[in-house]
């Protein structure tokens, strides 16, 4: 097993140092306090600044803890910003798939729909941004669960509701399904929330690969799935391309 990563240890020391003092510290003070070369300290501070753990005063150039540290437990990406940065790719996905597109983020044990693009057939449809979907019976929710964007335990502590006979309600079933989603990199829901409907979803990753949301297409089961009830490969391809494009724009490394 590899030993501790030195740069992470140093980053932790810098954060402790900044948290300990009541005032902002300059680069020289940080470096000399920790016995680091200025260049090394600067590189670490820049990286911490990049992930918003550290802020630099524009006037004095001194450093302090960043606001993101205070909200470590909550989503660091504003949902309206996520929608804004996804809108082009969500449109393109709706155009390519011919199906409705939704984006979701976790909210208090459910999926909050933060963006919705109509199925592009000009029929009457209603925006359902703001709607809440069940985690275990929607493709968006299953993807958020699979990639750790929201915990599974509270769901299993309660009794997951069976919406149809296909809804996964048993812990083993759910765990197996989530494992598969992690392996495949996408997830499906076939008539698990309502009969005749299906959806597929893929994770949206932010900096460092953290999953911040999910994007999915959904519609009539006969359009989403083939005759054997499996999602159409062509749909999966365009879905994953869209998810990757958004992730890339959000600063995730290439997958």
């Amino acid at each position: 097993m590899a030993g501790p990563v030195q740069s992470i240890e140093r980053a932790a020391a810098i954060l402790r140092l900044l948290a300990g003092g009541s005032r902002r510290l300059g680069l020289g003070e940080v470096a000399s306090s920790l016995g680091l070369a200025k260049g090394t300290a600067h590189g670490i501070l820049r990286t911490l600044q990049h992930v918003d753990f550290v802020e630099q005063d524009p006037a004095t150039g001194k450093y302090q803890l960043g606001a993101a540290l205070l909200h470590l437990g909550t989503s660091y990406l504003d949902v309206n910003e996520l929608r804004s940065r996804s809108i082009n790719w969500a449109d393109a996905l709706a155009a390519r798939s011919g199906e409705a597109v939704r984006l979701g983020t976790p909210l208090e044990g459910r999926v909050l729909v933060i963006h919705h693009v109509f199925r592009p057939d000009d029929t009457l449809q209603t925006l359902d941004v703001g709607a809440l979907l069940p985690l275990h019976a929607s493709s968006l929710g299953k993807v958020l669960l699979a990639f750790g964007a929201t915990p599974l335990e509270p769901l299993l502590d309660g009794e997951p509701e069976a919406y149809t006979r296909h809804t996964l309600v048993h812990p083993e079933e759910l765990n197996r399904a989530l494992g598969e989603i992690r392996d495949l990199g996408w997830g499906a829901e076939v008539q698990e929330m309502s009969m005749g409907e299906a959806g597929i979803a893929a994770p949206i990753r932010g900096q460092g690969g953290l999953v911040v949301g999910a994007i999915g297409v959904s519609g009539a089961v006969e359009r989403i799935c083939d005759t054997k009830g499996r999602p159409q490969p062509a749909l999966i391809t365009v879905l994953r391309e869209a998810a990757r494009a958004i992730s890339r724009d959000l600063g995730a490394a290439r997958w």
């Binding site: 504003d78 309206n80 929608r83 082009n88 449109d91 709706a94 693009v117 592009p120 000009d122 925006l127």
Partner: protein
């Protein structure tokens, strides 16, 4: 078979973008880079034209790389650009004469006031259909001649070229100092105050009036036709379209029939209605402009209501007040409150454009009480865009035989759902967003693709349009009227703030 694409370049007020579209009008790749805004004095706004050209040289390869596409797969290039922004450069060295003066810049206000008195609006309206305003290019050329030593003489000697941004980019793309094409298109030329809007040629009387020498002016071409091949950046690829960004958005929304209208929400917002081949003269403070001219087909005209400050108010809220970190967060902040708490913001940063046309107006925040939070201010920021749109829609309805039945919207701010709902509420009509919100880029691509034979005709383009989202009005009529009357009173308070300096 190798797939082919159309490249769209959108050189906007805050950024330069390169987007690739496929046959279905679907977005395949995007690359974007922001450029610096210079505010050297109150009311002055400048860009560095060299930085913009450099940014273009970066985003084009980036867009190709993102989609793993080769330059040989590009069928044509179309350009959409921020309009009226004025660049003067040296014909021999290609170096700009100072920074570009941006459309929001109000330094020509004293000159414009003078023009209103003498020779008066009619002189200009008869020829170019534009009233004197700091918005347009010609007063800027005059200002530069009057303020930069030797510039006018050099221009008379043919050493200086004028262009709006598309001219600058096309000149550079097609060879620059080594035989670059010095051209503009009819939509951009229609915003200079120098073009005869009937004949689409430079108007002798206006040129004489502003003292603009003919040799510095670009040749006026159609919005969609083959101008020539690029020599830099994408050697051999044809440039086949150029349109002002708002005309491009009208085209991208496929508003090809008289009476069809769209509103684009960006830095500013622009309601544009196709009026067909009729040259309609507004009685209510709207502009008559060229919508597009495809090859040698008849010119199509439009009525336009420009609003100077909408998205840039959000940017100001972010960058100058620091109350939010990113523009979309304005929605998050605004949703922390139920209403505006009685607070209104009239963002007359550059005076007020349509339908008021008051360069003496400046921004006001009214209704402040100790109850007001930053959430109320955020709400007032979004509502300002709603009410400014309402004023322009009212003017459009008064000028046109048909009342607007729905508003087709596009642009970056359409991702703000609260703003879209506010729009539906204050206009009392459905607000509809098309499947491609990037209609400026799409319009430039459509025009370029038509000229290059990538798409056969307008009918095919129309079939690409689909509804992606719709917001329905949900505001009690009494409240709508009350809020509108408050807004109007707020506007009253912004007028006449700027006064000529007192002589002692």
């Amino acid at each position: 078979m190798v797939e082919r694409y159309v490249m769209s370049i959108d050189q906007g007020t805050t950024s330069t973008r390169c987007i690739l579209f496929d046959h279905g009008g679907r977005l395949v790749s995007v690359a974007q880079r922001e450029h610096q805004q210079y505010f050297p004095r109150p009311g002055w706004v400048e860009h560095d034209a060299v930085e913009i050209w450099r940014n273009l040289q970066r985003v084009v390869p980036e867009a190709l790389l993102n989609a793993r596409i080769d330059a040989s797969q590009i069928s044509a290039i179309g350009i959409a650009n921020q309009r009226e922004t004025t660049v003067l450069w040296d014909r021999r060295t290609g170096v700009p004469m100072g920074r570009a003066i941006v459309w929001q810049d109000t330094r020509t206000a004293p000159l414009v006031d003078e023009l209103r008195r003498d020779p008066g609006e009619e002189f200009f309206l008869d020829r170019c259909r534009l009233p004197p305003s700091t918005y347009f290019s010609a007063p800027r050329i005059r200002w530069l001649f009057d303020n930069v030593d030797g510039l006018e003489r050099r221009a008379r000697n043919g050493e200086v070229l004028f262009g709006t941004i598309e001219s600058w980019l096309i000149w550079n793309l097609t060879g620059g100092t080594d035989g670059g094409l010095h051209i503009t298109d009819a939509t951009n030329a229609s915003r200079t105050m120098l073009m005869d809007i009937r004949t689409l040629t430079w108007d002798e009387a206006l040129m004489d009036f502003f003292g603009v020498p003919r040799p510095m002016m670009p040749e006026i071409r159609s919005s969609a036709e083959s101008y020539g091949e690029a020599r830099a950046l994408l050697p051999g690829v044809r440039i086949t379209a150029a349109l002002g960004d708002q005309q491009a958005a009208l085209f991208g929304q496929t508003c090809f029939s008289p009476g069809e209208a769209k509103c684009t929400y960006g830095t500013g917002s622009f309601l544009v209605m196709n009026t067909g081949t009729d040259l309609v003269r507004s009685e209510h403070g709207l502009l008559t402009t060229v919508a597009y001219k495809i090859a040698d087909q008849p010119t199509v005209y439009a009525l336009e209501g420009p609003i100077a400050v909408t998205g840039s108010l959000v940017q100001w809220f972010r960058d100058r007040l620091g109350l939010i970190h990113s523009a979309p967060e304005i929605e998050t902040l605004a949703r922390t409150v139920e209403d505006n708490g009685g607070c209104y913001i009239v963002p007359a940063f550059s005076g007020l454009f349509a339908p008021h046309w008051r360069s003496d107006a400046r921004g006001v925040i009214v209704g402040l009480t100790s109850y007001i939070t930053k959430g109320h201010l955020a709400r007032a920021v979004l509502e300002a865009t709603g009410w400014q749109t309402r004023e322009v829609v009212d003017a459009m309805n008064a000028d046109s035989a048909l009342a607007l039945k729905q508003l087709k919207v596009d642009g970056g701010m359409t991702s703000d759902h609260l703003l879209m709902q506010i729009l539906a509420d204050v206009l009392d009509v459905p607000v509809v967003r098309p499947l491609v919100a990037e209609t400026v880029s799409l319009g430039a691509a459509y025009a370029a693709g038509l000229a290059a034979g990538y798409w056969p005709d307008l009918k095919v383009l129309r079939r690409n349009w689909h509804r992606a989202a719709q917001w329905l009005p949900d505001m009690e009529p009494g409240r709508r009227e009350w809020e509108y009357s408050c807004w109007k009173r707020a506007v009253e308070r912004s007028l006449g703030w700027i006064q000529p300096p007192q002589r002692s």
